[in-house]
């Protein structure tokens, strides 16, 4: 019996397989690298909220300061989602019949909270403190982006550890005077670069953010 002989064209398969085998791992690494990074996965996350609250309207057009609603941002770790009462301060007079505000009115009537969906969700083992950043001149927009232009809040930055460290290692890239923290459209004073003002602020206020593990993990 004749032994089986691979046809000549099958030689090409060997090259092909070699090419695939050498590229596939690279492709896979690239895929995971890109695909699983927080920059791909998390940036742009914009869940639907129970009330179609527009920051673009309230913070942008109406110019309400961030701290009117997120009032604990200077005092505590969390910036605090406003209580129903805060909404009702205005909305018991304005748009009192708007169907969009129904959940707010229902909450005010029943005393049960509105269930908002968390957008900027850090892992439970990371301990972030808003007050320490806001009180040292890190602007809201530096991490949250131009909230005043968002109808639906979306995550603007990856909030990954590497991203945190980028700033902790060189905070001058983002520092601004403390009274400019909630200014969404902050620009460094004319004629100065961000780096120059940042460095000056860093020196003046002795801002040396630690990069120890226990800074955020405990």
């Amino acid at each position: 019996m004749q032994p089986f002989v691979f046809p000549r064209w099958s030689n090409k398969l060997v090259h092909l397989a070699g090419a695939v085998l050498s590229i596939a791992p690279l492709y896979l690494i690239g895929l995971v690298w890109y695909g699983a990074s927080p920059r791909t996965l998390d940036v742009g996350y914009a869940p639907k909220q129970p009330v179609p609250y527009s920051h673009a309207l309230h913070a942008g057009e109406l110019g309400i300061d961030c701290r009117y609603c997120h009032q604990t941002v200077e005092k505590a770790a969390t910036a605090a989602i406003p209580s129903t009462e805060t909404c009702m301060n205005c909305h018991q007079r304005i748009h009192t019949r708007s169907p969009k505000l129904e959940p707010i009115r229902a909450s005010a009537a029943s005393g049960l909270p509105v269930q908002w969906t968390k957008v900027h969700d850090l892992p439970d083992y990371a301990y972030f403190n808003h007050s320490m950043h806001v009180d040292n001149g890190v602007g809201c927009a530096s991490c949250h982006g131009r909230i005043d232009k968002m109808d639906v809040v979306a995550q603007h930055e990856p909030l990954s550890m590497g991203w945190c460290l980028d700033c902790h290692r060189a905070p001058e890239q983002f520092l601004r005077p403390v009274d400019e923290v909630t200014n969404m459209a902050y620009e460094p004073p004319s004629g100065q670069t961000q780096l120059a003002t940042g460095l000056e602020l860093r020196r003046a206020h002795e801002i040396n953010p630690p990069t120890d593990c226990s800074t955020c993990h405990r």
Partner: protein
Amino acid sequence: MPSMNEEKRYWRSLAEHATSPQQDEARPEFEAPLAPPTQQERRHFLKLSAASVALAGAAGCRWQEDHLLPHTQQPEGVVPGIPRYFMTAMELGGAGVGLKVKSYDGRPIKIDGNPAHPDSLGGSDARHQAAVLGLYDPDRSRGFSTLAEGGRKPASENEFRGFAREHFSALQAQKGRGLAVLAGESSSPSLADMKARWQARFPEARWFEYEPVSSPNERLGSRLAFGKVVRTRLILEKAKVIVSLDADILGSRPDSLALARAWSKGRQPEAGKMSRSYVFESSLSETGAVADHRFSLRAEHIKPLAAYLDAELSRRLAAPAALGAAQSAPSAKFLEDPELRKLLTAMIADLAIQPGASVVVVGATQPPEVHALVHRINAVLRNVGTTVQYLEGLDSSEPSAPEALRTLNEEIASGRVQTLLVLDSNPVYTAPGDIDFSAALAKVPRTICASLYVDETASLCSWHVPLAHFLEAWGDVRASDGTISIQQPLIAPLYGGKSAIEILAMLSGDELPWGLQIVQRALAPVVGNAAADPRLWRKSLHDGIVPGTAAAPDHPVLRPIASFEYAGGALSGLEAEPGQLELVLAPDPKIYDGRFANNGWLMELPDWATKLTWDNALLVSPKTAQVLGVTDSTLVTLSMETESVSVPVLVAPGQATGSVKLYLGYGRTAGGSVAGRALAGGSVHGEWDDQASVGVNAYRLRSKRLWDFARGANVKPTTEKYRMATTQDKHTIDRIGKFGTDDRLPMLVREASLTEYEEHPDFVKHAVHHPPLLSLWKDPVKYEGHRWGMSIDLNKCTGCSNCVVACQAENNVPTVGKDRVYMGREMHWLRIDRYFKGDPEQPEVVNQPIPCQQCEHAPCEQVCPVGATSHSHEGLNDMTYNRCIGTRYCSNNCPYKVRKFNFFNFHEDLKEEKNKVQQMVYNPEVTVRFRGVMEKCTYCVQRIQEGKFRASRENRPLRDGEVTTACQDSCPTQAIVFGDLNDPNSQVSQRKANQRDYSLLEELNVRPRTTYLALVRNPNPELG
């Protein structure tokens, strides 16, 4: 070469003591070698790994969606995430301790002592620390219930109210005839007020006070001595000589926290303040552990000893005639012991030359005449007015006696009780063996039990009312000096529980139904009308004490005391007589009378002396064990009169020869999923996991004859062994065998007598000699900014172990259960190493708390392959859990053995609906660790961070003492000090400048940040 002679040797366990230094044998690290996996297990493991890889891809790309639930109305002054602190108080056995509770977003999560409270001074004990776990215990009763056919049936509050209204108005019509109340002892003014109102409404009702572990002897003794009941207050700061006759003044009195602080003030050799204590006791106590001279003596020998002291001191100091005749020195056999004789002679001389500067204390369980005699001895020593004070009018003239339950039982038997209200008491469990209280309950037509759990008693009562936890209810307590504290609730009752005063108000139809109103009404004489002018009320709430409520000092006149007669074995010799052993029953140092038995933190806390967890065992002295032919963990039948129990033996150094001890509080049959329940037959509650009772019920041995201690116990060994989980020889610092141990122990615990210390104040520097220390590494960091460090003063540590539970509460440390403690897998971040020295019958004891030493050249950091443990710029060894892959190299390389590994996910069962409530106990500032992760003491890094944040927000530098660790806060003697070493004025820097300062294993050059102050004892030079 063993550098110390035989007498000076330290040892941790009897096994170690018995091993001669020549036997150089290394102990195995683990109790039982781990068996290699079988073929089956291996295949199963591979299958699982394959499946987990496959499933990893299927897991979602984003983690679970989280929700934010804001307030609807923001309460004023409340900032979410910023904890608030409130003062309250906890009562136990008729005395209250003021507490400061941390409330995080409305949940009480951490308890410390109230610095302004006279019985706390800021310290707190393990039971206070563990109270939050008790509050969120998922086994707690969740509502009203009635006894119906086929078990208990849940009922609504309204059903109960309906029953109560009808039943109690009928009772009122007949003036309360046939009504009886059984309650515990309480110092609460509101409860006393409600009791008076109750008795006015139901004049013929009976009220019984029964406290299973309190002893009336102190009060009876006071009446014998003075003709009235006064309370004794000790001023230990002023005492140069302290003599304790079976009294654990530092550990088991209601005012022990304050006494421990006062005692610690007299243990500062550098300040020239060193008291000297002589302790005679039947079993090793905290007071005995820190004593300068300790003698193990049976409890029955205390009476003749007191008489001997009285006779000798009266002769020496020429006691005033007004005090009457002294006791005649008894001719007791044990007093002829040459060692004891020598000790007593030296002690009496010591006492006689320092009149007015000593204090003699007797244990609460000793007979009344001994108490009376000790009052006399203190008078002879002219201590009254200086170190001993008397306070008037605090204790009721009729002390609650063990007989209360017996009387009630007889009343029931004679059919005179138709309705019984049991208020926060568990008589079915705590009744002595000769009273069958469950049978008695069956004879009462209407029984109502108010309790935290559906326990042994509640499950047999026709109605059960859920009791509010003390953190859920308004109330008040009195301190040992009479100071009133308001107990304010930290959280609304989780399960609709009612407090005792509210239940009394409800049943008696009081016009004020709410706890707050009742307390305000009762306290009106001291805080005024709180509704009209709340200022004093608010101040009292804020400070945690009502000002000016301490009792006034009394100057009672001592009466002559009749001469003693001795019964039983009081005059016997020191040696053991099998069959005539003395049995001592005492409340457990952790779970008390059994009421905290369902608290995992307390159950797993190693007993400070025996290091036993999850059990009670019969404590037997080494010599007695030899006579009886028993060894550790032999199961024996312990019998006293007609009752007997089967209990394992634990050979305990320091136990008196011929005296055996068993702790009460174990062997619960309806305790909960931690304390266990009866497995066969007596099943009472269906929803608990099947778990056998933990330990044995020692109450069954109690009888008319034996309450706290009595002679006549018999121990019959069996051939069976019982597995006990002790943490005795685990996590030992050395691993190089017996030679190493002997060489090293005197370096680990450095100790000198006061004379040696005065001659060589730098003696600690000579304990270890090593070549110059060179490092392989450059200093990793310069430590600019803060440089955290800790100092632990061994001279102040009593070994009480409160810090261990405090650490557990602060840092979300899991409990692992008996089996895993047995394998050496307990998770405590802080352990207390206890060393003995000398003769096992009369050992000296040293306690040494070991948290992570936070080395500057940390061996753990160098071996972590993933950088999960790393060095911070402030010198902490940070532990990053989410990086840890569980190689355990770090633990292997840690010379102090302080790292603990999560072998399992210990929070798994919290996912169950029923257990979810327990999640509320967690400190949200600390990660809850998962399986496969290494963990260790962090110096409470979350508190450091919070302190720095607070200082930064307020734009000021961090102050010394602003950041404290949890262990430091709980320590009653302030043995632990933490702070910034870069600040030369900080308390910790000053401690470290002390000449007694030394570090453990300094010869390894790991440069630990936690250092110790060496122990200095003050033995009588005459006995040198």
